[in-house]
């Protein structure tokens, strides 16, 4: 359609105009209002308390490096566990909670019959890692507890780090949740796992016949992102290892987030019931983020499982990811507003007290083949990057991290990041 082409041309012309010519007052206002947002006060207390505990510990060994840096022994193909543990052990306000002993042997009721508690075990690892002792630690008890919790995943095989991550949070939730959720009216689970990692996704399903939109909300502890494979020919995709054209601009994290929030036409086999039309109709679906968590965990779906061919393969492409991430364009108000040409709706102003600027603090990378790969975690502490490869902790330049093949990326709200790095 010529009209569509003209529209696109106009869009390009106007978008290319320098934005600096616009009013800076609006910029100022938006920046100022974000500073007024306060952190959860409980998180504040934990931060202060854990910092005090950490400073009191024995600093005899290698005190020039931040406490909390300690290698984890590989117990036999357990790098998937070590890599995620390193990320969790440095997730701001998560490790502080455990180190402040808010969940400890005294408070834990050890509800399971075998007296195993993943939360307690995690607390033990926390204390060990922040103790100042630099000899690599063996998280054997944790592995044992986890295998009891996730019986179906318990085997001496390389596991998926993401599945492990979800499973651990679930395990901690189970132990914590029952104690903390005595009053249900504070909207959502108050266990530490959900307080730190849980956000809310919004799903809008629109009937293509009448335009009626139904909205549902679902909590999530992470977001799994597909990589955009559309601009590669089917011949390339069929081969085991795909070398994409790197200049496509598609292999970036922001492109994945765009894909995640793009309106998707549901197939004709997925017709959904429209309330307005009173029958099943072809629909469009669009995801957006209703509420961001304190710690945003992004999972890149590099492992494709084909039930048809009963095989799996790994997508090896490089994915660019930013160190500073602004999630504003993926929030529900932005997505919904954009759907209507950016006209503002008064009732959409849902100013939560969580800002949308994030800073990366941990990256879990996977190298190698699907079955015989290796997980490594890069941690950012006080603006220095460290590589955590099982028992070996080394300093690395940030460029190594930028060029690494990310699998899970952990971002924390900027304000929390700055606070955590204050000393």
């Amino acid at each position: 359609m010529i009209l569509i082409l003209i529209r696109l041309l106009c869009l390009k012309i106007f978008m290319d105009m320098p934005s600096k010519t616009h009013d800076s007052v609006i910029d100022d206002l938006m920046r100022r209002s974000s500073k007024r947002r306060r952190l959860n006060s409980v998180v504040d207390l934990d931060l202060k308390r854990s910092k005090l505990l950490v400073s009191m510990r024995d600093r005899r060994a290698k005190s020039c490096y931040p406490l909390g840096l300690r290698g984890l022994n590989n117990l036999g193909s357990t790098c998937f566990m070590n890599s995620v543990l390193q990320a969790l052990l440095h997730a701001p306000s998560f490790w502080n909670y455990f180190l402040s002993e808010r969940h400890g042997p005294e408070t834990c009721k050890k509800r399971s019959s075998d007296h195993l508690c993943l939360a307690c075990d995690f607390g033990v690892i926390c204390s060990a890692v922040y103790s100042g002792n630099r000899t690599p630690y063996s998280p054997a008890q944790f592995l044992y507890s986890w295998w009891h919790h996730s019986a179906n995943l318990a085997s001496y095989e390389q596991q998926d780090a993401h599945e492990f991550f979800i499973s651990v949070l679930d395990g901690i939730h189970e132990r914590e949740g029952k104690e903390r959720n005595s009053n249900k009216d504070n909207g959502g689970c108050q266990c530490i796992a959900h307080r730190v990692f849980s956000g809310m996704l919004r799903s809008d399903v629109t009937c293509t016949a009448c335009g009626f939109t139904s909205t549902t909300y679902d909590p999530c502890v992470d977001i799994s992102l597909n990589m955009d494979t559309t601009n590669f020919s089917s011949v390339d995709v069929a081969s085991k290892s795909v070398r994409p054209n790197e200049d496509t601009g598609r292999s970036t994290l922001l492109a994945c987030l765009d894909l995640f929030t793009r309106p998707e036409r549901l197939g004709s086999d997925q017709k959904l019931y429209c309330q307005n039309c009173q029958e099943r109709r072809d629909s469009m679906k669009q995801m957006s983020i209703k509420r961001l968590p304190l710690v945003l965990s992004l999972h890149i779906k590099r492992f494709e499982h084909s039930s048809l061919r009963r095989s799996s393969r790994k997508i090896d492409w490089f994915l660019q990811f930013p160190f500073s991430l602004d999630m504003t364009p993926y929030l529900s108000p932005s997505i919904v507003r954009n759907r209507f040409g950016n006209r503002i709706f008064g009732f959409e102003s849902d100013e939560s007290d969580i800002s949308s600027e994030f800073e990366v603090f941990a990256v879990v990378t996977h190298s190698g083949m699907l079955d015989s790969g290796h997980y490594v975690t890069y941690l950012r502490l006080q603006d220095q990057w460290y590589k955590c490869d099982d028992a070996w902790i080394t300093e690395v330049d940030e460029r190594i991290v930028r060029a690494a093949q990310c699998y899970m990326i952990f971002y924390v709200q900027k304000m929390l990041y700055c606070k955590a790095n204050e000393d």
């Binding site: 009209l3 529209r7 106007f14 978008m15 934005s19 009013d23 609006i26 910029d27 060994a61 290698g71 022994n73 630099r134 690599p136 063996s138 054997a140 008890q141 592995l143 295998w147 019986a151 179906n152 995943l153 318990a154 085997s155 001496y156 599945e163 939730h173 949740g177 799903s203 139904s214 909205t215 549902t216 909300y217 999530c220 502890v221 597909n226 998707e264 959904l272 019931y273 309330q275 995801m287 499982h305 660019q320 500073s324 504003t328 364009p329 950016n342 006209r343 490594v376 590589k387 099982d390 028992a391 070996w392 902790i393 080394t394 300093e395 690395v396 460029r399 190594i400 930028r402 060029a403």
Partner: protein, 178 residues
């Protein structure tokens, strides 16, 4: 394309030319006002930061790929930041919490597998894991397999029936009708 001479056109052509003009005008105004809105609201203010990140990333890849770059050697033969070296197979010894025998750390997992009777030797259960993997790998299914919320919040508008299945999935035998 020059503007057609109005006197030489038939009324029919004039009218359609006029309509085309109106359509073009409204498209241009629509796009212009949207761009202006975006610019005024500062919705695109991060493009500079984004470009900077892309530039840093590209630079990093070039540096890392360069043969002169002393890239990270195999981590197993390196001294860590605390000046320690470690064997390939962790040699710390501790007692197995299942059977009590002292086990070498690096061989703990395979030992535990046999000790607990799990893994390849155990019978394959119809796992939550495989259905969970299916759910997670279908696009647009944000519900984590472990989410406990699927049937609890009041904000749900169950108009399209897609969320009913989660009630069944998490039931443990005491299934209540929603």
């Amino acid at each position: 394309m020059s503007v057609p001479n109005e006197e030489n056109m038939s009324p029919h052509t004039q009218l359609s030319s006029h309509f085309l003009g109106e359509l073009l005008d409204s498209i241009i105004v629509d796009v212009a006002s949207e761009c202006h809105r975006i610019a005024k609201l500062g919705l695109d203010r991060n493009s500079e930061e984004e470009e900077e990140e892309l530039r840093l990333s590209a630079q990093a890849r070039v540096t890392v790929a360069a043969p002169s770059h002393s890239c990270e050697t195999n981590g197993k033969y390196v001294v860590d930041i605390f000046g320690q070296t470690h064997p390939t197979v962790a040699n710390e010894v501790f007692d197995c919490m299942n059977c009590g025998r002292p086990i070498v750390a690096g061989r703990f997992a395979p030992h535990l597998e046999k000790c607990m009777g799990k893994g390849r030797k155990a019978r394959v259960k119809a796992t939550r894991s495989s259905t969970a993997a299916q759910n997670r790998y279908s696009r647009g299914s944000p519900v984590s397999a472990y989410s406990p919320y699927s049937n609890s919040t009041g904000t749900h508008k169950l108009s399209n029936g897609t969320y009913n299945h989660t009630v069944e999935e998490y039931s443990n035998g005491t299934c209540e009708e929603p």
